[in-house]
């Protein structure tokens, strides 16, 4: 990818992150107002309107400030996204706990609740907002093209090529027969195939999990959603070592070391994801015994 292509992508990602957040924030606010108005709750109506205006206003202000590439603006924008993410996750937890505490026939209190005042009267609104702000923070904090674009805006020199994309050859050949090199190629194909299978299976598991969440109880679907999310992320992570293995068709020592490093990084991340999977399995066992 050339420098100009990276900068173009960075600008599109930057604009896309802010436009998406503003649009979703506006839609979530309007939808929340409709839901709250249906239940004739005046105080949440006021707070939701005010928060909606403040949130959208802050996003527009940050977008304008950050377009100059200012580092303080960047920190403020990432902090703002992280705050919104934490807020959405807190509301999701409140919904889950409230569902767990209420019995099957319990319709809950008719008065306004904490999520109503925050403009998130429905679990799905909180989930949508959490996903959007996670993507927002991810794009601003970690996407190299966005960092390059913002670096250029504040006057930094941007390298012609991203060094991390290319793994230089050492010139030292790994003495492999064609059959042994074929074994590496076969492993590459299996890793990529496993990535695709996990990706599709994870999406289906995620959908199945969401389907299991009833209007009164979301708990039965949580293990499936967690497992599905883990499978999707894991599937995506598999593509990096598969590419590293493909690169090793050169039989160069540096490319072999790149393979080892790729798998080392993958297994570390997989370990973290497995902890989530273990938690999901434990939660599933608890969910069978506890009447949510």
């Amino acid at each position: 990818m050339t420098r100009q292509e990276r900068l173009d992508i960075g600008e599109k990602m930057f604009v896309g992150a802010f436009v998406t957040s503003v649009v979703i924030e506006t839609l979530v606010t309007l939808f929340a107002l409709t839901l709250i108005a249906k239940h004739h709750m005046s105080s949440p109506l006021v707070t939701t309107t005010l928060l909606g205006i403040v949130f959208v206003g802050c996003l527009l202000f940050l977008a304008n400030w950050l377009y100059s590439g200012d580092l303080t603006a960047w920190k403020a924008a990432v902090g703002w996204g992280a705050f919104q993410l934490v807020l959405s996750v807190a509301v999701i937890i409140v919904f889950v706990v409230a569902t767990a505490r209420s019995g099957p026939g319990d319709t809950g209190s008719s008065g306004p609740t904490f999520p109503d005042y925050l403009g998130l009267p429905n679990l799905w609104l909180a989930v949508i907002k959490a996903v959007v702000y996670a993507a927002f923070v991810g794009a601003l904090a970690w996407a190299p093209p966005v960092r390059d674009f913002l670096g250029l805006r504040r006057g930094e020199q941007i390298a012609e090529e991203t060094a991390a994309v290319e793994v230089p050859m050492s010139g030292v050949a790994v003495p492999l027969t064609d059959e042994q090199a074929g074994a590496f190629a076969s492993l590459s194909n299996w890793v990529a195939a496993a990535g695709w299978v996990l990706l599709v299976a994870g999406v289906l598991r995620l959908i199945a999990g969401f389907q299991e969440m009833g209007p009164k109880s979301v708990m039965p679907g949580i293990p499936g959603v967690l497992e599905g999310a883990v499978a999707v992320i894991l599937g995506l992570l598999f593509f990096a070592p598969a590419s590293a293995l493909k690169l090793f068709q050169s039989r160069d020592m540096n490319h072999l070391l790149n393979v080892f490093k790729g798998f080392q990084s993958l297994y570390f991340k997989q370990l973290i994801l497995l902890v989530v999977a273990v938690a999901a399995a434990a939660l599933g066992i608890v969910a069978v015994f506890v009447k949510w």
Binding site: A173, V174, P175, L176, T177, D178, E179, Q180, A181, A183, F184, S186, L187, W190, V191, A193, A194, V197, L198, V200, A201, L204, R205, I207, A208, Q211, E212, P223, A231, R251, M253, L257, F260, K261, F263, Q264, Y267, F268, Q270, L271, L274, V275, A277, V278, A281, A282, G284, I285, V288, F289
Partner: protein, 126 residues
């Protein structure tokens, strides 16, 4: 490219450090998989009465997760041997590649089963 010569391969100390880190991560992952396996088996066993399809799927996943853990443990040992032995690095590296190929083949197999069962569950619930 023609068949390469059957010469030996010996990793230097810097390369050994990378492989050693890889072996450690693989071992930890194997332990985590071996911990997850019984949990999935228990989950499947308690869930099978209420949700037969999901319960049986969890039992199958539990069994395969255990198998994956054992294969990963073997691959971790192969990686460790690359560091600890002298003169057989290439043989151990090829054993490592073979173990990982088995690991990903099993993963594709169990992933395909989960994919089909999940697709059926999604379609039924539509």
């Amino acid at each position: 490219m023609g068949a390469g010569p059957e010469t030996t391969l010996e990793f230097n100390s810097t390369q050994d450090t990378i492989i050693s880190g890889l072996a450690s991560n693989m071992k930890l992952l194997a332990v985590a998989l071996l911990l997850l396996a019984p949990l999935r088996l228990v989950y499947g066993a308690v869930d099978v009465a209420g949700h037969p399809v999901a319960g049986v799927l969890s039992l199958v996943e539990g069994a395969f997760t255990g198998l994956l853990g054992m294969v990963m443990l073997k691959a971790a040992t192969d990686a460790r041997y690359m560091v600890e032995t002298k003169g057989y690095d290439k043989e151990h590296m090829m054993n490592w590649v073979e173990s990982l190929t088995v690991f990903y083949r099993v993963l594709v197999g169990i992933g395909s089963v989960v994919l089909v069962v999940s697709a059926v569950r999604v379609l039924i619930n539509l």
